[in-house]
Amino acid sequence: MQAYFHKVCRHVFQRLRAQVFRMMQTVAIVIPVYNEAKVIGSVIEEVRAHGYEHIVVVDDGSADDSYLIATAHDVLALRLKINRGKGAAVKTGIMAANILGADVVVTMDGDGQHDPADIAPLIAPILEGRMDAVLGSRLLNRETMPFKKKVANSIGNFITWLFYGLLVSDSQSGLRAYSRYAALIIDTKADKYEYDSKVIREIKNNRLRFTEVPVQTRYTEYASTKKTKQGFINGLITLRRMIWKLIA
């Protein structure tokens, strides 16, 4: 009983402390989008409903109205006129967040698969000054993940470890948080999906303090049927890029 009481007290104390730190610091949420007109509005609203007012949406050359919808939601909307890939969009958003003077930068996908409720535990280690980068991990919460994705992620993790020497439980997760220092120092030329793996290399090379936090992923029909998602073929293309960048 006493142990349980202590546990509850510690949890409440940690939440309160994180809340205080959060109030003192500026958190910017970077959302890269490519043809997400159907959902981007609701994603922005949901993020805002969780108390994050500084949202940077980067439209990666969409053919639909993603950019217009983002602009209408009163966020900082940036537009890459040509589709350059997820990595290029995220990098642009992080650069904008750095210019804004954000203390913490969070990146999340624009298709609604990430739950904004996960942002608080994600940024807590950074707000407390314990970590420079926090990776959201879907594999620490394996029950909800489809089998095919588990296998694909395990392969991705293995390849990332093989090439960049750092083993993480979810090397392809888009939900991540960086301290200002990490957001400034992480620099990769990767434009496409290999960006996520390259960031892990940067974390290792720059000896950044990092941890992984379990996050929920909402496998909605919309998110899982999107053509541009990192499927098997795209995975092979990403692998080809990673190998090429190693030898070129």
Partner: protein, 130 residues
């Protein structure tokens, strides 16, 4: 004359014609060096197609008659190096395009970024004072 010889001469002729036409029209990137390489490569192909025995003569002159495998390997190596150089160049161009696109996106939103930056600065000041 065999069919392959006709096909090779036809292809080489088209490539030579295009090369000379582009150079004559002073199209972008068409230098004398590029034209010379084209004429040497495709002209050589035409000559070899018309006179197949000329390869033996060349091999004798170069002294590689008994080392034909080595010549083929060198050819592969040369092709690999060319592909490597081409892919590197494409990669570099892609990176430059991304950089340009990024700079343009940030510069287009410059006013909005500046306005938000000021707002955040003000809020930070207020928080510190509080």
């Amino acid at each position: 004359m065999h069919l392959y010889q006709v096909v090779m001469v036809a292809i080489s002729s088209v490539m030579l014609y295009l090369g000379i036409k582009e150079f004559a029209n002073r199209e972008t990137g068409q230098t004398l060096l590029k034209l010379s390489v084209r004429v040497t490569v495709w002209g050589g192909m035409t000559l070899i197609a018309i006179y197949p025995d000329s390869t033996l003569f060349i091999a004798r002159v170069l002294g590689v008659v008994d080392n034909f495998n080595a010549v083929v390997m060198m050819g592969f190596l040369l092709v690999f190096m060319l592909i490597f150089k081409l892919l590197s160049a494409i990669e570099k161009v892609e990176q430059n395009i991304s950089e340009l696109t990024r700079k343009e996106a940030l510069s287009e939103a410059h006013e909005r970024i500046e306005q938000l930056r000021q707002e955040i600065k003000e809020k930070k000041k207020q928080r510190e004072q509080a």
